[in-house]
Symmetry: C2
Subunit: 182 residues, 2 copies
DNA sequence: CCCGGATGAGACATCATCGTCTCATCCGGG
DNA sequence: CCCGGATGAGACGATGATGTCTCATCCGGG
């Protein structure tokens, strides 16, 4: 097959994140293929969404591996995780907004990753790097939210693509307030 | 009319944020009314979405007024804004994810508010309260993203409702990293 | 050159949803 | 008590999307 499955999934994720009610025809056009071809590779709309979920989860899992979140300073690990996630930020945004994954068993795969992210923040707290008054669960949600917001801002031209990782990490870790010299 | 329009809109926003492809029938059931009644109050799906946008924009505008974002310390103003926005966080999450408002003239109403938020962050930078290496545009996006993520986390039971405002403000302003004593 | 796989364009029946309608019921005010 | 407005339940046709199919074309390898 000469069809770039990854490319189709990217286009679909980008479109569906922006307009979740897009028809198969719109998705096909956004991906630059015909509706027939889209249907040849994804049995139907449900299958396409499922493929998006699976792919997003798999890619984010890869990012978690690559970032080696269990090693080194927790803050640095978070930075690495954000950097490694940047290429799949579009899929993460889709997964994060497409919260209907609270229905099927897709849940399991996602939970496995969620646990790893929470563990990272918990480790940071135990090591005295992160504040204790913000729960790991919330820090995890915030991470997803910021990555999604960043991806969306980049895709919309409000933030330069090269700044994405820095903007997200700096805000998540350092916050908006100016620091006193330390 | 004895129908609680606000209640219907809240339910619709909550459902559509989680499942944007929900049918009118699902929306009606989620709101606790019949499909007929839903249609009596909102001409159709488009009209309902438009009403959600208008209502969300109006309410967020009210929050901006109430927070008096032009007065006092910028950081405190941000805290007030987040606190005042908390009751309408569900609508903000909907507006933020429903990014198709880049089509119609709904844009104008929203842009007016967006400008005010950005102005707040810019003022904070000029007054030396906020860091200069994060653009007002990004801080604004991050604010929306965090409010949305917070609303979603609360609605899903991962964060206590009473902690919503504090979690969002603390993370946005202070970041995740533990501070040195100052 | 020829061929097979893949694609694009489009026709087609099917199906879910939409928007409108009617009718029975409920409920609060006069 | 009676009445009018509002609602719920459901039927109905219209409409748009879906999924499947066929056929012509394209393109790269043998």
């Amino acid at each position: 097959m000469s069809l770039d499955r990854e490319h189709v999934l990217r286009a679909a994720a980008a479109l569906l994140t922006r307009k979740a009610t897009a028809s198969m025809d719109e998705i096909a056009r956004a991906a630059g293929v015909s509706r027939a071809t889209l249907h040849r590779h994804f049995a139907g709309r449900d299958a396409l969404v499922r493929a998006l979920e699976d792919h997003g989860i798999a890619e984010f899992g890869r990012a978690l591996d690559e970032a080696r979140t269990e090693e080194g300073d927790a803050a640095e690990a978070v930075r690495r995780l954000i950097a490694c996630s940047e290429p799949v930020a579009g899929f993460l945004a889709f997964l994060f907004t497409e919260n209907q994954l609270y229905e099927a068993g897709v849940n399991e795969g996602w939970n496995r990753l969620d646990v790893r992210v929470q563990a990272l923040f918990r480790r940071g707290q135990e090591e005295g790097v992160f504040r204790l008054d913000l729960t790991p669960a919330w820090l995890t949600e915030a991470l997803y939210g910021l990555i999604g917001a960043g991806a969306w801002a980049v895709q919309d031209g409000r933030v330069a693509a090269k700044d994405h990782t820095r903007m997200v990490s700096e805000l998540l870790l350092g916050g908006a307030q100016r620091r006193m010299e330390r």
